[in-house]
Symmetry: C2
Subunit: 226 residues, 2 copies
DNA sequence: CTACGGTGTAATCAGTGATTACATGCAAGA
DNA sequence: TCTTGCATGTAATCACTGATTACACCGTAG
């Protein structure tokens, strides 16, 4: 615990070996992106914040992209965990509820961690294909979605002839679009009294009620469910 | 027409004044982004391709961001035109069809011009707020969507208590998500026999049939409509 | 013909990602 | 304990970037 560093100059004689440079670099990267945006990020600034020379990061990450990919992996771990937690909070016998929980968890996390989400979802800043961790976790969520829809379909809550892959694609695109629009600032003109988070949450519910489990034939009946 | 340039060295004595540097710079920018991606873009390369010195572009665009914003404005003009053309091709008395046409036109254009779309939709590469052209055209499309939904609602094809802004947001997020996922390479693992364009097109139709004009109460009846 | 103003050039700046040769100090083996 | 090995960090350096400045060029209005 004596090595989390903070580079308090003048305090310690600045041990030559940092102790945990990799972790410090990743943290510093996230901080700097949150402060000045990902476009402004420079490895030199990351090194400076970690209290280390400009070339030091390249001992651990062969390129800036590799550094950002490491950040993305850490972020993906947290996203996966957040989604899993959201799913575990709902009735496990209700696949549609679990399906919605995935979307909810995903959106909540993305909006609470815009920096991390931005890095994960970019395919130009990071080397997605090179990271089996990223690919695997991404694929796992998709498979989980298909599985849940299959269960819903088996319970008769979905038409038997609906292509699950198509529906999963639609759901992914919807959630992805909502998250990116919110983070990219595409609807700053929304009702001032209503933060994007609420609009996004309601949009997800709208999608679920229409696409996954059609609740009733006509929309005219206002529904005052919980 | 004698000035479209191409910097044929040795041909002409290289007229000191380019003639239409602004246009040439924008074209060169688009070309270079298509070749090496937007991350790799440098103003120097743009200048070189336009056959001009590295500092010349800054006489017309005060910054790299300003150059990209100009590209975005050109792109938005074309997108608006493409959407308008798509709308004009459908029955003008059918607001739902026009609504779908907007989405179709948007998606088709985005997938045919990924570079332009990428620049338009980014809020970090360009200065969106500073360009009234971008803001106006963006807002015009949204207003058109609301208007069409209002007409559909008036025709009884939508529940009278549905919040049109919410529905428009949902539709925008869906289309935006589809376009970005396709362009950002988020589903390269799709059926190899089925290019993303087709998957995206069908996804849009799925959305329309479920969200805008609920065709029937239960999904079980396979529908072989046109 | 001349002065002027818009256009492009050349030189230059600080800052960037990346590489290299070189210091440093921890830890294992004698 | 000494010393050797090696991972870790440093310093110097490279080519390149966005951006600025002073200056050269040239079509044109007077």
């Amino acid at each position: 615990m004596a090595k989390t560093s903070v580079t308090k100059a003048g305090d310690q004689p600045k041990p030559y070996h940092h102790g945990n440079l990799v972790g410090a670099l990743i943290s510093a990267t996230v901080e700097l992106i949150e402060e000045h945006g990902v476009e402004q990020l420079s490895v030199r600034e990351v090194a400076k914040r970690a209290g280390v020379s400009p070339g030091a990061p390249f001992r651990h990450f062969r390129s800036k992209t590799a550094l950002l990919t490491a950040v993305a992996e850490q972020a993906m771990d947290r996203l996966t965990e957040a989604v899993a937690r959201a799913v575990s909070d709902v009735d496990s016998t209700d696949p549609a509820a679990a399906f919605e929980a995935i979307g909810q968890g995903y959106l909540e996390w993305a909006m609470a961690n815009p920096t991390h989400f931005q890095i994960i979802s970019s395919r130009t800043l990071i080397d997605f294909e090179a990271s089996s961790s990223l690919r695997d976790q991404n694929g796992a969520i998709r498979e989980k979605m298909v599985e849940l829809l299959a269960r819903a379909q088996h319970q008769g809550r979905l038409a038997p002839d609906v292509d699950l892959d198509h529906l999963v694609l639609a759901a992914r695109a919807y959630v992805y679009g909502l998250a990116r629009m919110a983070i990219d600032g595409h609807f700053p003109e929304w009702h001032p009294s209503e933060p994007p988070a609420i609009a996004v949450r309601r949009a997800l519910r709208l999608f679920m009620s229409q696409m996954i489990v059609p609740p009733r034939c006509d929309l005219r009946k206002p529904k005052k469910s919980s």
